[in-house]
Symmetry: C2
Subunit: 262 residues, 2 copies
DNA sequence: CGTAAGATTGATTTCGGTCAACTTCAGTGG
DNA sequence: CCACTGAAGTTGACCGAAATCAATCTTACG
């Protein structure tokens, strides 16, 4: 599973940067990649480093175009208001780039924090440019990945603005399941759910007390169960209808995702 | 509710694509442009077309990388939920690109609508690439423009999630004033305010009735006045403090904006 | 100058927040 | 192996900000 002369110089290649990383799996949804594309991509990923749960992810390098990619674990982009309130602005799952560009603005307006232990790899800006220049498939894939992230961000605005508590939570679960499914991390109707109720509250602009009650309501409606950090969706169609969730915006791909019942 | 398109082709005037367009003014904040950069930029802008107030802005071409730039008027990105509720996801002001890429996703998940009559110019994808290739200043400027738009989007999430009604409205006013100021459209402490109270409600996830009361409260606190589609900020520091507004995320530039008291 | 969109105001309701107590659970060390 | 600890989750009583419903009033403009 190892190859050199991948157009580069990279000598030693640790395990984490192998061909089957979550970023590659995700990009497959956005463009049909050639074997060589996957090779180049894997070669561009720096060795993984690990961040402890609840620690902030900080930039080290100085290259504003470089991209940190999550290989394992969950993280979030968040903002802490002067009055102490916290709002999670986006959730970052395996395969997601977590645009460290933000570290290059004058003042950091939102931080990136690990919600669980996180393993990260970096693609340098120069390597990124080369990837895009060499492969139009990769260029297309990265371009559409950005569109997808943006669409997800817009949909969060819609949730916070116009969805009720139960709709919001339902929508979050639909989104997370779809995103995890896209990188092969959903197991049929179930997937990991690594957020605490307080995290959910910080993401959905509510209190953990009310999340708890809403969760109970979703359980009582027999739409989901949530046990041992694992979410199971019993009635996918029902949950999506309640959430007014339209699955296509997450991936909007050619192939269609694997575990989308109904 | 939406009228049909304004047919386009209204009095094409190369005038609008002159050197002093709002996009150029905005980009100046992000990188120091040479005369030649401004020239190239102006040349890349297609003749302006006009969209009627309350009409949707639709894509015509087929080039996913092309960018529509607002030259005059206000628009918004919005989403209409199946239950009829409307949420404005972002506001688009003169100088803002309104990423028509969205029209190239399978299903359009959010539309772009004119809030006032809008005049638009387009930069083709190929022209865009050339601009970036020829001038690293323009490349830098467009790159940072994207960062800024993203930061604004994140801040909306924070507003909807964690700010109270009056804080939200105050924050919106601070943001709009800063953005208009950056393209030379603020006049000291005052600027145009082309949103109806219903628009504000749709942007801030509230009802127009409550916007009205909140507006009154802001007036009573002598922070602002709003008359004849014009906003005047009487106590900039007070408004910013109330909104927990941190001006730098909007532009975060070298030069600093012109009308930022204190 | 008539009309419709927008703005204003009051009365009432409701969803979600606040406060507070209590339980469960995972991990740690004696 | 159990006792202790702190974080996470659960539940109840009460409160309050914003929604809803409804009735004007004002303004822009054809």
């Amino acid at each position: 599973m190892n190859k050199h002369d991948a157009g580069g110089f990279v000598g030693d290649r640790p395990r984490s940067t192998d061909l089957d990383n979550p970023l590659a799996r995700k990009l497959e949804h956005f463009a049909r990649l050639a074997d060589d594309d996957r090779l180049q991509l894997a070669a561009a990923l720096s060795p993984a480093r690990t961040i402890a749960a609840r620690a902030d992810i900080r930039e080290e390098g100085d290259d504003p175009r470089s991209v940190n990619v999550i290989l394992d674990g969950w993280a979030c982009r968040y903002r802490q208001l002067p009055n102490g309130q916290r709002q999670i602005v986006s959730l970052l799952l395996p395969g997601d780039p977590c645009d460290p560009q933000v570290f290059h603005q004058r003042r950091v307006h939102h931080a990136i924090g690990a919600l669980t232990p996180v393993s990260l790899a970096q693609i340098r800006g120069s390597a990124m440019k080369e990837l895009m220049a060499h492969s139009s498939a990769l260029e297309e894939a990265f371009f559409r990945e950005r569109l997808s992230a943006t669409a997800i961000q817009y949909e969060w605005t819609v949730s916070l603005g116009r969805r009720s508590a139960i709709e919001r939570l339902a929508h979050l679960f639909c989104e997370l399941h779809a995103r995890l499914d896209a990188v092969g991390l959903a197991d049929g109707a179930s997937c990991a759910m690594l957020l605490t109720q307080t995290d959910m509250a910080n993401a959905l602009g509510q209190t953990s007390v009310h999340i708890n009650r809403t969760l109970k309501e979703l359980r009582d409606m027999e739409l989901i169960t949530l046990r041992l950090r694992r979410l199971t969706i019993h009635d996918h169609a029902g949950l999506q209808a309640l959430a007014m969730f339209e699955p296509t915006y997450v991936m909007d791909d050619e192939v269609g995702s694997s575990a989308q019942p109904r």
